[in-house]
């Protein structure tokens, strides 16, 4: 099919789904419902008795539940899941002697639920096969939440000789639009593009009926845009709803095996100079960073772009699941770039640094004295355009305000002479620009030799740049961003460190 025909199809499919809506096929799943109910009971126990005893068990149970939704394979082709269920049964049984009677009863139910799951074929899988047969394999595509589920489904279909393309929802390949897409999982597990830039004229989500969250992902402008894509959803129930013996406890428990974010209470004091509010960002490859709230941008990578245009910047506020960040191990890129820029200036480097300190310290003093909002207001009065950036300008790695006029007005407001601060800061910025361009070109070079498909499958790639001070660069995919922020030392921001709490999300 030609590109233009495909393009027309994409627009037509987007319009069709927007207008006709999507189908939600909620399939009755007795073993899964039972497991889901027991997990809620264990969550309740965790709340009462603490993480030490129940944490690991709960994590394992939730991961098994996750697999039921994202990889609804028949048991004969699902050895991983069988093993997980068996391991869960064993763990539950091991814990029994250590707990009281009531808790022991919960463990019994958990072991029971796990062993039922171990031997039962997924009803969702059965319904999926039936749907594919009805519509016709050649007119369908199956969409999955992650690379692992795509791989598992591919193995299943290959074993059974089923010729249906399987696509990982987040991947953007040039594909022909088909009649119907079947997405395995509840809608909110998928990126908005699944619904807003669909691969088929019809879209059905399949998931077990015990998953109660049926909200659709939204296009980011949907709340305010005209022609907003807000498809309706029609829910179909398959099978007879199981009746559970006891009502499900009402606990905060989510299907997505999200990392257990520690709850941070709001800080009781304003941040010191060397501190900043930051969110935890969990990354592929068992890594994590702290990313400062209100930061400007961070270097990112877009695998869908052509060679030479992949390295870009992402707004810190827009960093979310699926974005690839480019990070430097051991020190932030900004710090290294700054050092390199000063180096490039040779003898003038130290003079430039001293000048920077002078006006930045003056600005910091004002911020501490009258507070940020007053400084911003005063700068706006003085005619500064980007007044809201006042606090950012104090950072050592930002050479000067972007706009010339803004910088002059700032210096004047601080009561400092325009020269030589202006010229020194501008020279430093130019040097930093050069250093940054060098890094970007070296990154593009390294990336042109890297397979984007492999990067997307693995989620993490180490790059070795031939630039002094820039070995140890990694490109890694964001798995989760903490909803709350905490106060940390500025020097800890953006440095990758080991953290395996998001491994279930890979």
């Amino acid at each position: 099919m030609t590109r233009l025909a495909r393009l027309n199809d994409r627009y037509a499919a987007a319009a069709a789904v927007a207008v006709n809506g999507v189908e939600l096929l909620a399939v009755a799943d007795r073993p899964g419902a039972y497991l889901d109910a027991v997990i809620k009971e264990v969550t309740e126990l965790l709340r009462q008795d603490g993480d030490a005893l129940w944490g690991d068990l709960l994590a394992a149970a939730r991961q098994l539940r996750w697999r039921l939704v994202t990889e609804p394979l028949p048991t004969p082709v699902n050895p991983d899941q069988r093993e997980m269920a068996a391991a869960l049964t064993r763990r539950a049984t091991q814990l029994k002697p250590l707990v009281g009677t009531d808790a022991a009863a919960v463990l019994d139910r958990l072991a029971d639920a796990a062993s039922t799951v171990q031997t039962a074929d997924s009803p969702v899988g059965d319904v999926l096969l039936r749907c594919l047969r009805e519509v016709g394999f050649e007119s369908c595509v199956v969409m999955t939440v992650s690379s692992r589920s795509a791989a598992a489904m591919t193995r299943w279909f290959t074993d059974f000789g089923l010729e249906v393309p399987i696509a990982r929802a987040a991947l953007r390949d040039g594909f022909d639009v088909v009649e119907h897409a079947y997405a395995v999982g509840s809608p909110r597990l998928f990126p908005p593009s699944t619904v807003t830039s669909p691969r088929a004229r019809g879209l059905t989500f399949l998931f077990p009926s015990w998953e109660s969250n049926r909200s659709l992902p939204r296009s980011p402008l949907a709340a305010d845009a005209e022609g907003a894509i807000r498809p309706c959803s029609r829910i179909f129930l398959e099978g007879t709803e199981p009746v559970l013996m006891a009502p499900k406890p009402d606990v905060a428990d989510d299907l997505v095996p999200a990392p257990v974010w520690p709850i941070h209470s709001a800080p009781t004091r304003p941040p010191r100079d060397d501190e900043v509010m930051a969110r935890r960002v969990l990354l592929s490859g068992g890594l994590a960073i702290y990313l400062e709230v209100g930061g400007d941008h961070i270097r990112a990578l877009d695998p869908a772009q052509p060679v030479g245009a992949r390295v870009t910047y992402c707004n810190v506020s827009a960093v979310g699941r699926g974005i690839y960040l480019v990070l430097r191990e051991g020190a932030t890129e900004r710090a290294t770039l700054y050092a390199r820029a000063v180096e490039l200036l040779g003898e003038r480097g130290s003079i430039a640094e001293a000048s920077q300190r002078q006006w930045k310290d003056a600005l910091k003093r004002q911020l501490n004295r009258v507070g940020r909002s007053n400084v911003v207001a005063a700068l706006r009065e003085a005619g500064v355009r980007r007044d809201e950036q006042a606090a950012v300008w104090t950072q050592p790695t930002v050479a000067r305000p972007q706009d010339d006029h803004d910088f002059e007005l700032l210096l004047r407001w601080l009561g400092l002479p325009i020269q030589p601060s202006f010229e020194l800061a501008t020279t430093l910025r130019r040097a930093r620009s050069q250093a940054s361009t060098d890094v970007r070109e070296a990154l593009e070079d390294a990336l042109s030799a890297t397979s984007m498909t492999e990067l997307e499958a693995r989620g993490l790639q180490r790059l070795d740049l031939e630039l002094p001070g820039f070995s140890g660069i990694i490109a890694t995919r964001v798995l989760a961003v903490s909803p709350t922020a905490k106060l940390i030392s500025r020097s800890d921001v953006r440095i990758p460190e080991p953290d395996r709490s998001a491994r279930w999300l890979e």
């Binding site: 233009l4 296009s219 402008l221 005209e226 245009a309 506020s317 827009a318 620009s433 970007r440």
Partner: protein, 311 residues
């Protein structure tokens, strides 16, 4: 829907990629060209404000070029006076741009002489019969790297539909230089080679002939095309009236764009939410306006919003 097939070809914008004869009607493309045209008309009524329009599309292909095309074919062009009158007062050595039926030539003007077959102008190394010169404009600031000649394309069905055939050569000779597109340069360059026409029966225009991108130092250019990813700082000419930001990397520069009209194009197939994020942050400090202001509404599959703020 009638079961009788109409003999008429579909009306609306059609695109072609590999060959000008394989035109494919694209209703969504009509809507984007129409929006470009509307923006061109409303630019005069902004009174010192900046109008920001954000669009989301299922995929970004051709969107920026279609908007730019609608704009360019709607904006009025100043048609220079008759070449023989203009040629009279030009100081020797001044760079000029000249269009014949077949060529655009940019070079220094060295004077007019009477020849055997009538008046001739001496531009660069060649003497041209003034009768054959369709358009002549003086461009004193034209740098030498742009001296040279290029073939002039023939106007196509979209230019014809926009009523701009009469001004075609003037547009090649003295184009408005008021549009810039930021995006993935290699993709834009590729798309510029495609054809865009009205209906599928007549010979279409080529994007590059209508938009005259400033790539490779052409003698005549109208649209700046820049790679968003490699920008360290945004330095755009002050006279720009329309800036198109194609994708998240480009939309990042929104705050630094000073043209009266800015359009951010968001590709919904991309997970990158930097674009929408920047748009909405800015919108929070601006005055949202309804699309009735533009007299344009998005077709199904496209989302749009607009807001204005003092520049």
């Amino acid at each position: 829907m009638s079961s009788v097939k109409c003999a008429r070809s579909p009306i609306g914008v059609a695109l072609a990629e590999r060959s000008a004869t394989e035109l494919v009607p694209a209703p969504w493309a009509s809507a984007l060209v129409a929006l470009g045209a509307r923006l061109a008309r409303c630019a005069a009524f902004l009174g010192g404000d900046q109008l920001v329009v954000a669009l989301t599309v299922p995929v970004r292909d051709f969107a920026a070029l279609l908007l730019a095309t609608g704009w360019t074919l709607t904006r009025p062009t100043e048609v220079p006076g008759p070449p023989d009158e203009i040629a009279v007062g030009i100081p020797r050595g001044t760079p000029v741009r000249m269009v014949t039926d077949h060529l655009v030539v940019a070079d220094r003007f060295f004077g007019m002489q009477d020849g055997v077959r009538g008046c001739r102008v001496h531009v660069g190394n060649t003497h041209w019969e003034i009768e054959k010169v369709r358009c002549l404009s003086v461009v004193p600031e034209l740098p030498e790297r742009r001296f040279g000649r290029r073939d002039v394309a023939v106007s196509g069905s979209l230019t014809h539909k926009a009523g701009q055939v009469a001004t075609w050569l003037a547009r090649q000779c003295a184009p408005n230089t008021e549009v810039a597109i930021l995006g993935t340069k290699s993709w834009l360059e590729e798309e510029l080679q495609a054809w865009v026409g009205w209906g599928t029966d007549d010979v279409p225009d080529r994007f590059t002939d209508v938009l005259l991108p400033d790539l490779g130092n052409p003698p005549s250019w109208a649209t700046i095309v820049r790679a968003a990813q490699t920008l360290q700082e945004l330095h755009l000419p002050r006279e720009l009236e329309l800036v198109l930001l194609d994708g998240g990397s480009a939309i990042r520069w929104l705050a630094d764009v000073l043209s009266p009209v800015v359009v951010g194009i968001i590709d919904r197939s991309s997970p990158d939410e930097s674009g929408p994020d920047t748009i909405m942050q800015r919108r929070a400090r601006s005055e949202p306006i309804g699309l009735d202001f533009l007299g344009w509404h998005p077709p199904p599959g496209i989302e749009a919003l607009a807001y204005r703020a003092p520049l």
